[in-house]
């Protein structure tokens, strides 16, 4: 008697899995393209939308979402979709800038710690520990306050607080590469630390950096929005997403739910898109994580 077990063609769930498996590479690439397009679309949307729809139309105040206004209108009759896109675009740009600066700091310190070792390493590790010893948001508030708030404040605060994890990753990567055979060889050949860093470290670190950077974005953007929400971030006249959400707090009890819900969903989608992008990039670089 012959028993065939776990036949792959048995259930629809299995079929689905096989379809997914077969298309994984295309899916990953597709996801990367789709995510990038979505985010780019949001970032450049204000240039296509222009200022139209941002002016006050008193006859169209407080309209719930409809076909004409997908996100409804606010208490001045402004189209919430346009406002949200403007706001999110601004928030994304601020977040991107801050995250990029943060990634630079993280890479620099991570490389320094891993390459020079000794007291440099000890000092950097200690700084990282001090940063980890404070709640993230408290640290953000402190720094944003200290530099005087506003857009500049947010960028500096986010940039100064998000580098720690990346620095750790890069440092570990450097240490691992450092102990590898070819680095030993180069060292024996009398190459300088800098030469080794440039020729051996950088190629290993760039993929880590890229993924790390993209996974930094969502954090940076969420924290930017949070800071703006509590009033220490972007100036209230800028249509940042945090500001829009904070404004919606003033219209909760009147039942204008769309003022808070719709922009929040857009923000959520953008953050998820970054996460998605990061995960897919990572699985492209490192197929191990995509198993199973």
């Amino acid at each position: 008697m012959t028993i065939t077990v776990n036949s792959p063609q048995k259930s629809p769930q299995k079929l689905w899995r096989i379809w997914r498996q077969n298309n994984r590479r295309q899916q990953t690439l597709g996801a990367i393209v789709l995510g990038t397009l979505f985010l780019l679309g949001i970032i450049v949307s204000p240039w296509f939308l222009g200022e139209s729809g941002l002016s006050t139309v008193l006859t169209q105040r407080n309209q719930p979402p409809s076909l004409a206004h997908l996100f409804g209108t606010d208490w001045l009759g402004r189209d919430m979709l346009r406002r949200s896109l403007h706001g999110l675009s601004l928030s994304l740009r601020v977040g991107l800038l801050a995250a990029s600066v943060s990634a630079l700091i993280g890479t620099g310190l991570g490389l320094a710690a891993g390459t020079f070792g000794g007291w440099v390493d000890a000092v950097i590790i200690w700084i990282v520990d001090v940063f980890f010893s404070l709640p993230h948001l408290v640290l953000l508030i402190l720094i944003a306050f200290a530099v005087g708030g506003g857009t500049k404040g947010v960028i500096i605060a986010v940039a100064l607080t998000h580098w720690t994890s990346l620095a750790r990753v890069i440092r570990a990567e450097v240490l691992q590469t450092n102990s590898s055979d070819y680095v030993h060889l180069s060292r024996h050949l009398g190459k300088s630390s800098l030469w080794i860093a440039r020729h051996h470290m950088v190629p290993h670190i760039v993929p880590q950096l890229l993924v790390g950077l993209i996974l930094l974005f969502p954090h940076a953007i969420l924290h930017e929005a949070a800071l703006s929400f509590i009033g220490i971030g972007l100036s209230p006249h800028l249509p940042a997403i945090g500001i829009i959400l904070a404004e919606s707090m003033r219209h909760l009890s009147t039942g204008y739910w769309w003022l808070g819900v719709m922009p929040g969903i857009l923000l959520l989608l953008a953050v998820k898109a970054f996460d998605w992008l990061g995960e897919n990039l990572r699985s492209l670089f490192d197929p191990k994580t995509s198993q199973g």
Partner: protein, 329 residues
């Protein structure tokens, strides 16, 4: 023997704490010395027109704002050695008292949120991990990933819209019903006002803990000892119960204590949304109104809080895992 180890452990931890707090204090003051905000103006606020220049000078003198930052730091340090964190500008009260009373209000919320996120996160993580690949796992992962990308304050806002505005089953603000003397507030009223903020706060932690627990459980389920247990005919849920749970407890507890830091930060946002008068709300006040002594005090306190959480996690290791000895390895 054990007691000596414990003492050594405590001494080490205290030393590190002292060093850390010192660093935090110096760091904070250095940062604040760069601040372009004029605290006198921030203090006066809307009353600018009725306050003469003489009075402004008087105000600066009262708060020592006319001194350079380094001398204020030395003053502050001197006071600190006497156990005094200075006086809050906004609340005109010793900073330690402000923190104590505010933290008391936050503590209950933090505790509920902490337990909720820990238990729910653990449960969801266990289910998802055990059913890896199943649609339930997919659902839980989707939920957790979505939550992880959601702005905390927005989730809180949604909860407020749904439960307080639409269904009217939760209060829209505050920590107690209006007009009721504190001694007359019942336990249920108290809970009623506490619950929604706590739930909102716990949601941040759930995602993180669930995802980590899931991953850890999957690792455990792929381990040799689980393979052996399966070979003995152990069912999936009993494997989770007898082996999975025990082996993920340690990382879960580490994570749980480490999450105190995130929770503390989250409380700043949640209290803002729910107008809950806790320490988080005071943090925002301190920053918005340039109350430097209070801000420094809160930064200081939060570092202590996070450190305590991590130390508790360290202490819990040897209890759970016999392989780990206090102070050893």
């Amino acid at each position: 023997m054990q007691i000596r180890l414990l003492l050594v452990f405590a001494a080490q931890k205290l030393l590190r704490l002292g060093r850390l707090l010192m660093a935090v204090a110096v760091f904070t003051f250095v940062l604040l010395s760069f601040s372009p905000i004029d605290p006198v103006k921030a203090y006066i606020g809307a009353d600018m027109m009725q306050i003469s220049a003489d009075q402004q000078a008087l105000i600066a003198e009262r708060w020592g704002l006319d001194q350079p930052m380094w001398s204020r730091f030395l003053d502050w340090l001197g006071q600190l050695l006497q156990g005094n964190l200075g006086t809050s500008l906004v609340f005109n009260q010793p900073v330690s008292e402000v923190i104590a009373s505010r933290f008391q209000a936050s503590l209950q919320m933090l505790a509920i949120a902490w337990l909720l996120s820990g238990l729910l996160g653990l449960a969801l993580g266990l289910i998802a991990g055990a059913l890896e690949g199943h649609w339930i796992d997919r659902l839980i992962r989707l939920y957790a990933y979505t939550l992880a990308s959601s702005p905390t304050f927005w989730v809180a806002l949604l909860l407020l819209i749904v439960f307080a505005v639409s269904f009217k089953i939760a209060p829209i603000c505050c920590a107690a019903p209006p007009g009721v003397l504190s001694q007359n507030v019942t336990f249920w009223q108290h809970l009623h006002h506490l619950l929604l903020p706590a739930v909102a706060l716990s949601i941040i932690g759930i995602a993180n803990i669930a995802l980590h627990t899931r991953q850890k459980l999957i690792d455990v389920l792929h381990s040799d000892y689980v393979l052996f247990a399966r070979a003995q005919g152990e069912s999936l849920w009993n494997i989770v119960r007898y082996h999975g749970f025990r082996n993920i407890l340690l990382p879960a507890i580490t994570l749980q204590f480490a999450s105190l830091s995130e929770l503390f930060g989250g409380s700043v946002l949640v209290e803002q949304v729910f107008a809950y008068p806790g320490l988080g709300e005071a943090t925002v006040q301190a920053a918005l109104r340039s109350d430097i002594p209070l801000l420094v005090g809160i930064v200081f306190f939060s570092a202590l809080f996070v450190y305590t959480g991590n130390t508790l996690a360290d202490l819990s290791y040897p209890i759970i895992d016999p392989r780990i000895r206090l102070g050893g390895q």
